[in-house]
Amino acid sequence: MKSLKKYLDKIKPQFEPGGKLHAFQSVFDGFETFLFTPNETSKSGVHIHDSRDSKRTMIIVVLALMPCLLMGMYNAGYQNWLAAGQTEFPFWQLMGYGFFSILPAIVVTYVVGLGIEFIVAQWRGEEIQEGFLVTGILIPMICPIETPLWMLAVATAFSVIFAKEVFGGTGYNIVNIALITRAFLFFAYPASMSGDMVFIGRDSILGLGFNLPDTFTGATPLGQIATATGATQIVNINGEVTTLWDMFLGLIPGSFGETSTLCILVGALILLSTGIADWRIIVSVFVGGVVMSLIANWTATATYPASFLSVGEQLCLGGFAFAAVFMATDPVTAARTTVGKYIYGFLVGVIAILIRNYNSGYPEGAMLAVLLMNVFAPLIDYCVVQANINRRLKRIKA
């Protein structure tokens, strides 16, 4: 490691102002601080600092996403095999198929997103920040497997520039960057983001998997319900009934990384045990979801077929759990006050189920619920802060 550090120290002057590679200073800084913890010591205030930093925080979130990503790979293969009428599911081939179908999407989002971040950091003369490490892996995981790469690139560029950098970069954005990317795709290219043609890998990749006929369709559970009338039976591609257990494990069509509630819960365990995500938000999203599901279920009518779903199905389907654990908990866009977090989480849960049940045009209610509450989070915090101010004013009068 000493020789690597020596080498970095040797080439460093070239990246400093006046050096011939100065245009890449932010890139160099990014890699240098990634490889070696900065030796900068405290100049004011406290003399020691906690070992945790922004890099560790972000990396733990990425780690917590890994079970979902791996399950997404397996499920991508599984759905293709199933659609091709196979009865045997060779594990490594399924994983390989999933790996090669998601890899280009991950590469594209990271290259586009990090590229923009590096340029902006250089332009502002700031250190590169690590927020996009999480966003970059989240984006492919919440999009359908068949999303064209150029669309991903356009949407990623749009959200990084217009939802993040124009507001001031990491820590200043109002809405969740990954979700705004998905929302952009959803509204700009609805045909490629919803319906029954995009959620299952259709082509064989590098000799793995099977080419499905052009006429093949396979709708997600919520997609099936949206087009149904009255209480309906959710089925898989071959018309067999999908059980709650299948939904929990995640062996259903859906966006790449969000289908497995089991893996999401493993991720939640990682985030909560390390204290990165706030349990208040996760718990209250689920509470909100349960409450709204119960209300919907008690008043179920054939006009709104999704209202016939049980509480368990509501929580396992359509990225609800994924949104609760990974999206609503983004500290920058969530409510920041303790009391605010309960209100914010509860409303995310309620609104996600509300949209899903009563607007069949948007079966993916969780995404819209989180975005909506991102916008309202500052208002919730404002009220909580105002309560603190009022307590202080009252004290003077008393």
Partner: protein, 446 residues
């Protein structure tokens, strides 16, 4: 009946280099002592002496430009050796070469119970400038109307000296001090002690028994949890050592500027208490006591609020502690963010060290880059006060006077944010922000 305060939030930093044996192991009569005007926040220093002047212990070295009767005095008899000036002729230090041959302690006429006269004696004897006035955390102004006075007879900061040692055998002085202070306020004189010390009840004082982790025994915490400061109110705070000095002044007419200093930290061979004089030179205090001479940080005070000093500098007021930790500026730690080393100190459960219940020897590195405020709820978790720290910091950064006032800036001084600064993932300089905000606020509202 004492008031019970059970502080739930907070954090004790378990650092290596604590004192095992609570006995005073030696005495140092430093040949050089120094007084640093920066330690007396809000005081605009004017020199009262010239180089070469002879002074007694208790003779003024500095006065406040705005309140000329408020002095900072020499803790020893001797000769003024140097007045060290920095940029724009700002006084950095006044150095006195001590002469222990003669018993040269200045005597004051203390035969009074009149408030104005008591304050005048305190101001002249240099004891008023050892106290702190809130809001703003400045040297008390003699004409202030004081709501209450809070005495801290405990220190919960990392590796802090025990007041059992600092105040041993000073019961008489403490009682006299409380009696004197009671003339200064129409309110109460509170004395706060922590569960970790065994200070006896002091007659005349309202005792507060504090339980819990640091910052349980910070004045800010105790005030916020007993009777928070409202706009327009003024509270004075001081520590038990200063209280005992006030007592000895009003008992004997003289101030005892001897002090007991804890020499602690992971780079100290045998952490111990040593008897010396206020303002002693660091070099003499640490002679032969360090494990290593290179790449260390000497802090006059504790690791959270103390001042980094060189060996040529002096023990800074009001601290009775010197902490020596590694500097770490050549650590070159490979991918520290991924480290699972049990020697990494953190409040985060993602570090194995968090669970080991061991002591740590952290260095002075930031251990990460400065970022915008990303994580929420971190500051609140270590600040046991009913304020919204994040929002207060944002109000300060935007210099929004109304918001600062509404969010309780009068209740805090920089040290109240020290733990928040330690735990902050984004490594923001919170104490500096608060200090600048308070100075701005003071300037704008006066």
């Amino acid at each position: 009946m004492s008031i019970l305060l059970n502080i739930k939030k907070g954090l004790d930093l378990n650092l290596e280099g604590q004192i095992e044996n609570p006995e005073i192991v030696g005495e140092l009569k430093p040949t050089l002592i120094g007084v640093c005007p920066d330690d007396f926040h809000g005081l605009i220093p004017k020199a009262e002496v010239k180089e070469g002047d002879k002074v007694l212990a208790g003779d003024a070295l500095l006065r406040d430009k705005n309140n000329p009767q408020v002095k900072v005095v020499s803790p020893v008899a001797g000769t003024v050796k140097a007045i060290v000036r920095g940029e724009r002729r700002k006084i950095m230090n006044i150095v006195v070469e001590a002469d222990y041959a003669e018993e040269g302690i200045k005597a004051f006429d203390v035969n009074t119970t009149d408030r104005t006269q008591i304050i005048d004696v305190l101001a002249q004897s240099g004891l008023l400038s050892m106290m702190v006035q809130r809001p703003y955390g400045v040297v008390p102004s003699p004409d202030a109307t004081v709501r209450d006075i809070y005495v801290m007879a405990a220190d919960t900061a990392p590796l802090a000296p025990s007041f059992d040692v600092e105040l041993k055998g000073k019961e008489k002085e403490l009682a006299k001090g409380v009696e004197v202070l009671s003339h200064l306020t129409s309110g109460k004189v509170y004395v706060a002690r922590h569960e970790s010390v065994k200070i006896a009840d002091i007659p005349g004082a309202e005792m507060i028994d504090v339980k819990g982790h640091h910052p349980a025994a910070l004045p800010g915490t105790v005030i916020a949890n007993t009777s928070p400061i409202n706009k327009g109110e003024i509270v004075w705070t001081l520590d038990g050592v200063t209280l005992a000095r006030i007592g000895s002044l009003f008992l004997n007419g003289k101030v005892d500027w001897q002090t007991i200093v804890a020499i602690v930290g992971s780079e100290v061979k045998t952490p111990a208490y040593i008897k010396t004089v206020v303002g002693a030179q660091v070099d003499q205090l640490l002679a032969g006591k360090l494990k290593t001479e290179s790449d260390i940080r000497i802090i006059s005070g504790n690791v959270l609020t103390g001042k980094a000093v060189t060996k040529e500098e002096f023990l800074r007021a009001p601290y009775t502690q010197i902490t020596v930790i590694p500097e770490g500026s050549h650590a070159d730690e490979f991918m520290g963010w991924a480290s699972m080393s049990p020697s990494k100190m953190s409040v985060s459960r993602s570090f194995p060290g968090h669970f080991l219940g061991r002591r740590f020897s952290p260095d002075a590195r930031l251990l990460g880059g400065r970022r915008a405020m990303i994580m929420s709820g971190e500051y609140e978790s270590v600040m046991p006060m009913d304020i919204m720290p994040e929002y207060l910091i944002k109000a300060i950064l935007s210099r929004d006077i109304d918001k600062m006032e509404q969010l309780g800036i009068y209740e805090v001084i920089p040290e109240d944010f020290a733990l928040a600064e330690y735990v902050d993932t984004s490594k923001l300089e919170l104490q500096k922000v608060v200090s600048e905000g308070l100075d701005f606020m003071k300037k704008e509202t006066e």
